[in-house]
């Protein structure tokens, strides 16, 4: 084939043959470096905090009478905690003026930088896109993803921070 030195014209089939040969191997020692840098345990997902409070094993079933009362009290406590937690969240509206866009998404630390989870509605008559989401109190970094490929820093964000790749993440404190 190949990059046959005698041949001077190639077609797409040649291209496919070549591409099949371009895998690269991870550098030696990468596995060790990853394992050394791992935290002790994965982060706890929010939902598991509550499930982790739930008693396990048969001891939960055995004392039936006490269990009924305890479960009632326990559930009331859990519901109280959930309601309290819900109240500590804040509704935040994100807006971007981008009249020519076909799609605008919001990605940030609150959705693990995963596109596709928050899609802004719009554009309105002024070319503005917006989305209102509930966020826990604290500091969050985010960017807009326009048309699935262009990363845009929120021009209205009062605080921004370099992302280390030549762009800036917007920061919101709530």
């Amino acid at each position: 084939m190949s990059i046959d030195r005698k041949k001077q014209d190639y077609d797409e089939q040649d291209a496919v043959k070549w591409i099949r040969n371009v895998r690269v191997k991870a550098p030696d020692g990468l596995l060790d470096r990853v394992m050394e840098a791992l935290p002790d345990a994965p982060d706890k997902a929010a939902g598991n905090v509550i499930s982790g409070m739930w008693p396990l094993g048969k001891s939960w079933i055995m004392p039936a009478l006490a269990g009924a009362a305890a479960s009632f009290i326990f559930m009331a406590g859990v519901l109280f905690c959930i309601e309290k937690n819900r109240n500590s969240n804040v509704l935040v509206t994100f807006e971007l003026k981008s009249p020519g866009a076909e799609k605008v998404e919001l990605v940030g630390s609150f959705n693990h930088w995963q596109p596709g989870t928050v899609v802004l509605e719009g554009p309105d008559a002024n070319g503005k896109w917006s989305a209102t989401i509930e966020l826990p109190k604290g500091r969050h970094e985010y960017m807009f993803l326009v048309n699935g490929g262009t990363w845009v820093t929120d021009p209205s964000a009062p605080v921004k921070k370099s992302d280390g790749f030549g762009l800036e993440n917007a920061i919101i404190e709530i």
Binding site: R5, A15, K17, N21, V34, P42, H112
Partner: protein, 180 residues
């Protein structure tokens, strides 16, 4: 028999951190290949690969088993690398890659001139290079490529098609120059 990804993830979540090493071993080449094709830089690709696995481990409780672990970690890597990727695509940067042959995976077809291949690939836009490599070097389906790169399936198909055509053109041009 090898444990499935799902079993390994469950073991990690149950406190067996070493099970994650099996997952890294299983997919580090693919994740690194993706990062390298996106950044075209060994150093950046190594950083992105390492960071992608660390993030995957931290967020393991959010992983859903109906989605393949391989595609999940590839998606994390693609998102992490996005800024390097788009910045270079915008500037249409053409890199002269000093390729480190020791990292190349050995293939039975020894007639392939790997250095020439890499130079031609380096001249291809990352928007075409990445889907092309995922499709033919890694064997991904168009639907998987679309998910990993957050593009439509039709766009993935179009980019692979355009990538094939440009690759053939670039290689023909290179050989014409060489032949003179």
């Amino acid at each position: 028999m090898d444990k499935t990804d799902e079993v390994l993830v469950r073991e990690c979540l149950n406190g067996d951190k070493e099970s994650f090493a099996d997952l890294v071993k299983r997919y580090q080449d693919q994740v690194f290949n993706l990062a390298f094709r996106m950044t075209h830089s060994w150093a950046d690709a190594e950083d992105m690969t390492q960071e992608a696995f660390i993030r995957a481990y931290r967020k393991l409780e959010t992983y859903r088993s109906e989605y393949s672990f391989r595609n999940w970690v590839m998606t994390i890597c693609a998102n992490l690398t996005k800024n390097v990727f788009w910045k270079r695509m915008r500037s249409q940067e053409v890199e002269q890659l000093h390729f480190e042959l020791r990292y190349l995976e050995e293939k039975p077809d020894a007639s392939v001139d790997r250095e020439a291949l890499e130079k031609v690939l380096g001249r291809l836009s990352p928007a075409l290079r990445v889907p092309l490599v995922l499709k033919y070097a890694e064997g991904y389906a168009y639907e998987e490529i679309a998910k990993i790169l957050n593009i439509r399936v039709s766009a993935a198909k179009m980019r692979v098609k355009r990538g094939r055509a440009q690759m053939a053109e670039l290689m023909s041009a290179a050989m014409h120059v060489r032949g003179k």
